[in-house]
């Protein structure tokens, strides 16, 4: 059972579509969007809910375009 849940927010204007974040994501959460930003780049976006907030993508992003969130999931007492 997952004990954490992560989310990434991509600054789509800052992203230059270099795709370096794609291979470092172990959960295969990131792919290039079909849409373009104002500069004509396909920006990165998350395509599934498996992100665990490991920050790999943000670490390698040359433009610092990714903000990573992570929460611990509260275990509900099941008696």
């Amino acid at each position: 059972m997952a004990t954490v849940k992560g989310e990434i927010v991509v600054n789509t204007e800052r992203c230059k579509g270099c795709e370096l974040c794609v291979p470092v994501c172990k959960e295969k959460t990131i792919a290039m969007s079909a849409n373009l930003n104002s500069k004509g780049y396909h920006f990165a976006s998350s395509i599934n809910d498996d992100c665990n907030g490991c920050t790999n993508c943000a670490l390698v992003c040359p433009d610092g375009a990714i903000t990573v969130y992570r929460v611990k999931l509260k275990e509900e007492k099941v008696n």
């Binding site: 059972m1 849940k5 992560g6 989310e7 927010v9 600054n11 204007e13 800052r14 230059k16 579509g17 270099c18 795709e19 370096l20 291979p23 470092v24 780049y41 809910d49 907030g53 920050t55 790999n56 943000a58 670490l59 390698v60 992003c61 040359p62 433009d63 610092g64 375009a65 990714i66 903000t67 990573v68 969130y69 992570r70 929460v71 999931l73 509260k74 275990e75 509900e76 099941v78």
Partner: protein, 259 residues
């Protein structure tokens, strides 16, 4: 079954942030090509300056080259040096402002070609500055010409048939050279192309900044980086090419650590 919050719930609470862009990078969009390591290097340096609360005490020196506009991105006081002269500029600053944290940020043409003299002598005098050296084996800004660190047989705009060591000399291992000088205190070679390397590079940058306070000599961090435009590859291919070709010549790791 634990409750699973929605994306919106997670994002709205800023306390959930585990990684975000440092406030010491300005809002200006980076001028670097998509996938270029300069942006990552800038970010790591500014993260460390932020974490060590040094913004008010830091003076940076930008070179001539791709990172000539570094001062548009680094939210600290900076000076722009003539090509190759950043170590001399930084010497002038540090000698007269000894309590400030002073660093240069230079490329391979700047540091190991025209600025070789300044590099060697700043190291030899043991200036208490930190030098960040981004080595991508090419002159990026001017359009991909051969640099002192260009590899043998590597094609560039000025070695279109590959660097012929007979007539164009050998890749210059400037970092090993300066590590031999007693004036250098900490010398390391890192890269920023994988998460693991980014973490290691950041530790090296932290040491290179902390050690400056000890006034024990010059700290030098080389960052072997990609130049996907100049090498004419995609960013991902360039990082792979870098691992296979640059790292054998420029092995990563600490080269000189204080005793």
């Amino acid at each position: 079954m634990s409750y699973i919050p929605t994306r919106e719930e997670i994002i709205e609470d800023h306390d959930n942030v585990v990684y975000e862009r440092t406030c010491l990078l300005t809002d200006n969009p980076l001028s670097y090509c998509p996938g270029c390591g300069h942006g990552t290097a800038h970010r790591l340096i500014m993260e460390v300056v932020e974490e060590m609360n040094l913004q008010a005490d830091t003076i940076g020196v930008a070179p001539v080259g791709c990172s000539v506009l570094a001062y548009d991105f680094m939210n600290i006081d900076m000076q722009q040096a003539a090509h190759g002269r950043a170590p001399a500029v930084a010497t002038g600053i540090k000698r007269l402002m000894p309590d400030k944290f002073v660093f240069t940020y230079q490329g391979d043409g700047d540091l190991a070609a025209i600025g070789t003299g300044e590099t060697l002598h700043a190291c030899n005098r043991g200036e208490n500055i930190t030098v960040f050296f981004v080595n991508n084996g090419i002159y990026g800004m001017t359009g991909g010409q051969m640099a002192p660190t260009t590899l043998p047989n590597m094609k560039t705009a000025t070695s279109p048939f590959g660097r012929d060591t007979e007539s164009m000399g050998y890749p210059l291992k400037i970092t090993e050279l300066i590590a031999m000088l007693p004036g250098t205190y900490y010398v390391s070679r890192q890269s920023v192309h994988t998460p693991a390397n980014v973490r290691k590079a950041k530790k090296a940058i932290e040491k290179a900044i902390q050690y400056q306070k000890l006034k024990k000599g010059l700290c030098f961090v080389e960052i072997v980086s990609n130049c996907n435009s100049g090498w004419k590859m995609t960013p991902e291919e360039s990082n792979k090419w870098m691992e296979e070709n640059m790292f054998p010549y420029y092995p990563l790791g600490d080269i000189k650590v204080p005793k």
